[in-house]
């Protein structure tokens, strides 16, 4: 799904999700829960991909220093911890499974 020229120069950038699907962009859909609301992912999406192809941010920084959207994507920086079905997990290397419940807000309150 290549962004069109008009989308690229849109002034309303804030309304668009952060990441763009470029390759294998149409795969089977699955539904999960994101912060309590129904959400859609594609089969094989990590939680990070599913969230950032729908939103611009992933979590709040652990020390209240602003929003974060992941960084290293290889399990090293530890900036993408979320809560999955009550257990903490890194969003960058946890695949979305149908029906799972992801909470992005509670990452530093335990979980």
């Amino acid at each position: 799904m290549k962004p069109s020229a008009s989308a690229r120069h849109s002034t309303d950038e804030a309304a668009q999700p952060r990441m763009v699907r470029l390759v294998d962009a149409e795969r089977a859909r699955l539904t999960f829960r994101l912060d309590g609301a129904p959400a859609t992912a594609q089969e094989g999406d990590t939680i990070l991909t599913a969230v950032l192809t729908a939103r611009r941010y992933l979590v709040e920084s652990a020390c209240g220093e602003g929003k974060r959207a992941g960084f290293c994507l290889m399990g090293a920086c530890q900036e993408c911890w979320v809560t999955v079905d009550g257990t903490r997990a890194r969003a960058c290397n946890t695949l979305v499974i149908a029906g799972m419940s992801v909470a992005t807000g509670g990452h530093f309150t335990g979980g």
Binding site: R21, V23, D24, F71, Q78
Partner: protein
């Protein structure tokens, strides 16, 4: 004598080839890997639902990637292969692992550490803004998830990966605003002599660079990055070229200055480290058999110093052959000689690359309000103040006082810059400030672990 229990950590090019060589000599190993599929970061395999052919995903390296994937697929049923498993500690001949919430200890007589590399990063003003990703992370977004990190991307930093990832993004249809290399073209030309020892790799590098130019993508070399600007997210990259200040609008930045070895397990295993001037990193020592200073602990691949994927495959095999000989198998002297010759050639090439793409020095000249530690948002000025107030001259003391390196990443992101800063502030040699001690668990663990089903 019974065969020893052998454990390998890391199923990238080095770990897989080590397991293969052992298996060919009738030795079985436990192969532990954090990823669900083998290949490491460089040859990382996407989840099953992705259809894109290997030629698109791995480019010129597709043949090597596919060969490695076939090997791990074959080995998976022949050996004790444990994917999706984190080795989070090593102590007294025992690895502590965690898989799907279940902890398990793995006892070994011989350990091969093949933990690979990650991006070598330096802080910049604004590098914590959403939209800034490590360069290797930007590549993983594409090859593992089919995604670009944004709509208009700037690639900033240095090293061969900078051009490769920009090329891969452009080929996949992403919009690239600029490729900004902190190293000037003349440094690369000077280093060509060393690079010429591996003409094929050199040719690929030139190809990517030329391809980008031919496709109208702005490539600027010899820039000084000034910062990444934006309020809630990335809006532009500011830099200087000569005396001219410039900026480029974007909503994503791929940031990286080469690669850095992941050495935490080698540290916990008690391996002796040496300071490597070329890469400005502390690295575990190893002999020509790949054995560390600790008997029975071997090092293979980028985790013992950056050599690239080809060298990692060779080191993996080399270590496997060393161990086979140690276990009484026939020593394959001619194959060992061939591998050693190739490794020597690749080492010359690597030295040339380090000269062509050295780490820039801006790490020691950061403004006081630049965030140094991403985990805990500790700024350069605060660290400088603490260094002065507490007469800090050593890294672990600095960690104790400032918490730099104590956050969740354990200094993986900021450690290098923190050492440069401490060395500069105290007018010491970089080697003299020491290195952050590794601590188990080497990555955060979810606690409490859910009980086993």
């Amino acid at each position: 004598m019974a065969d020893p229990a052998i454990a390998i950590v890391g199923a990238g090019p080095a770990g897989i080839r080590a397991a293969e060589a052992l298996s060919q000599h009738g030795l079985s190993a436990i192969l532990i890997d954090e990823a669900p599929k083998g290949g490491g970061q460089i040859y990382r395999q996407p989840p099953d639902s992705f259809q894109r052919a290997a030629s698109g995903r791995y480019g010129f390296e597709a043949r090597k990637a596919s060969a490695l994937h076939r090997t791990i697929q074959r080995l998976a049923t022949a050996i004790d292969y444990r994917p999706s498993t984190l080795a989070w500690n090593v102590c007294d001949g025992r690895l502590d692992t965690l898989c799907a919430g279940r902890g398990e200890s793995v006892v070994f007589d011989i350990l091969i550490i093949a933990t690979g590399a990650m991006d070598r990063l330096l802080p910049l003003p604004g590098w914590t803004l959403p939209g800034v990703y490590a360069l290797g992370g930007a590549q993983i977004a594409l090859k593992y998830q089919g995604c670009a990190i944004g709509r208009r991307t700037v690639f900033l930093g240095t090293g061969p990966l900078l051009y490769l990832v920009a090329y891969q993004y452009a080929k996949a249809g992403a919009e690239i605003e600029a490729v900004l290399d902190v190293n000037p073209a003349h440094a690369k030309r000077r280093a060509l002599f060393g690079l010429a020892s591996s003409p094929r790799t050199l040719a690929k590098g030139i190809y990517y660079r030329t391809w980008l130019g031919a496709h109208g993508i702005a490539v600027e070399e010899g820039v000084t990055p000034m910062g990444i600007a934006g309020t809630d997210e990335v809006r532009e990259v500011r830099y200087r070229r000569g005396s001219v200040e410039k900026s480029v609008r974007c909503d994503a930045v791929g940031l990286g200055f080469g690669l850095k070895a992941e050495t935490q397990l080698a540290d916990l295993a008690g391996c002796r480290f040496r300071f490597d001037r070329e890469s400005r990193q502390w690295l575990p020592e190893r002999n020509s058999d790949g054995e560390s200073s600790v008997s029975g602990v071997y090092l293979a691949g980028d985790g013992a110093g950056i050599g690239g994927a080809d060298a990692a495959e060779l080191w993996g095999e080399r270590v496997g052959l060393s161990i086979a000989a140690r276990c009484g198998r026939r020593r394959d002297a001619s194959r060992i000689a061939t591998i050693d010759r190739r490794l020597a050639l690749l080492a010359r090439f690597r030295a040339g690359l380090e000269r062509a793409f050295p780490l820039p020095m801006h790490g020691s000249r950061l403004s006081d309000d630049t965030i140094l530690c991403r985990c805990e948002a500790i700024r350069v000025g605060q660290v400088k103040e603490a260094i002065r107030a507490f007469d800090v001259v050593e890294m672990n003391r600095m960690k104790a006082i400032t918490r730099v390196g104590m956050g969740r990443c354990q200094g993986r992101m900021c450690g290098l810059a923190a050492a440069e800063l401490l060395a500069t502030e105290t007018q010491q040699d970089l080697a003299a400030v020491g290195r952050l001690r590794g601590q188990p668990p080497i990555k955060p663990l979810p606690m409490p672990w859910p009980s086993a089903p």
